[in-house]
Symmetry: C2
Subunit: 302 residues, 2 copies
Amino acid sequence: MKLTILGCHSASPQINTHPTSQVLEIRNHVFLIDCGEGTQVQLRKYKVRFSRIKHIFISHLHGDHYFGLVGMISTFRLLGRETELHIHAPKGIKEVITLQMKLADSWTNFPLYFHELSSKTSEMIFEDENVEVHTIPLDHRVYTNGFLFKEKPFERKLNIHKAQDAKINKAYFRKLKQGFDVENEDGELIKNDMVTSPGPKPKRYAFCSDTAYNESIVPLIKDVDAIYHESTFLEQHKDLAKPTKHSTAKEAGKIATMASVGQLILGHFSSRYDDIENFKEEASEAFQGNIILAETGKEIVI
Amino acid sequence: MKLTILGCHSASPQINTHPTSQVLEIRNHVFLIDCGEGTQVQLRKYKVRFSRIKHIFISHLHGDHYFGLVGMISTFRLLGRETELHIHAPKGIKEVITLQMKLADSWTNFPLYFHELSSKTSEMIFEDENVEVHTIPLDHRVYTNGFLFKEKPFERKLNIHKAQDAKINKAYFRKLKQGFDVENEDGELIKNDMVTSPGPKPKRYAFCSDTAYNESIVPLIKDVDAIYHESTFLEQHKDLAKPTKHSTAKEAGKIATMASVGQLILGHFSSRYDDIENFKEEASEAFQGNIILAETGKEIVI
């Protein structure tokens, strides 16, 4: 799993800071998470092939998380895209996008699907043989979801020599990889772990932005390998975090500790701070694990 | 009058090319013309103070001419703007912008006025003591206007010494600047041009994008000091210009010649061309006057 940060600052795009957007490469998917203004240019800059993006997940309908979406869809159209595109976003997204298409008299040639979200409890919104995506209901000023990206278990690794020595017919190899015990050519039952070893551990990544400090998400993100948790403010502006329903770095650290996450990625920094190193310091007061500061263009292997 | 080009390429924003947006400084106004995605960042880059922009003119509702508007309005709100803002744009703009505000539950604190355009003939859409703005109906795939920015006549220059020598009371100086003949203290009529000279010549700038070749605009833009005319294509792609209702550089040159304009500014270049010098060359086959290639960040004194 590889995460590329396209933008990690809150509110307005500026010359050197970009609003929220990330690319998650997971198994064969390239998922786009949030899409602030300018995201299509960031995708070009970091050489993400447009056609590989088939699913876009939008956390909420504040501009810094989706104002780049309509322009990106429009660019896909201009480039002659044929691949289908799925938008998973709060209710309302379809009306906004289609209204703008209607006014421009410009409809996509490629299939465009809107999957509008409105559930206040976690739900699975995408599944295939390799991956699941679940919502993480967050506590923000408007309806907001984080997203939990889960790899499904990998197949077990088959030791072909051992399987041949155990006289297992090739026809059963697939079953072995799936973890079943099988009979060999002499009719003996061969225990699966005699000829296979576990595949790689499936990974989980949780994206949680924007949100007030919210302990109710902990069970959903328990033991994830990495969490991106917003930290708009430092402790000195704790009084601003509450009414705007954002978190401080220390609060992000607390959530990370309660959920025993593998690594904590901080982002959604307010533009009032010149030095973001302080975010790491304050989060580390509450979380002893690995802390990464999001940075435009940074690639994070999970 | 000073024009600053913030973006002059057609269709999608890219790393080094920006969609249409210009700033026109005219008398005390700072007018924003079109507002493609990323315009707010361009304004920061070229140090245009947000609060000075009180009127935004949008030619049409294709994304490369207005997708930056909603984010800019949102940024104005976040910065605590109090100054009023007027949007002059085709019918539909109010619904698009207010729908997005509603979904974000974020309303402006400053007064925001929508002046929706739908007339198919030229109309005056702004006037104060110094400036008039008129629409220039264009021929594009959706309802589109260019804009004609006209300085009103400047006051005449008063030669105070001559006025005093002619025994004219100070109370009449304002009338003299306005061009009237006045009586002096001896009751004699003093002809205005005895004590005044003409003020600077008022200037006119016409913004014409996007449009197919359209001779019907010529009477509206006759003798303007400068015209920005779109030239999306070179002659080799003339076959593309027609169905997409765009112009070639040569066609822009023809319009400039028919209207006897002072200078022709070319822009809205398709991203398929690496070398835009050819646009100048082709336009010069049809127009012998001064031709300027628009360029991001270029300042043009009119």
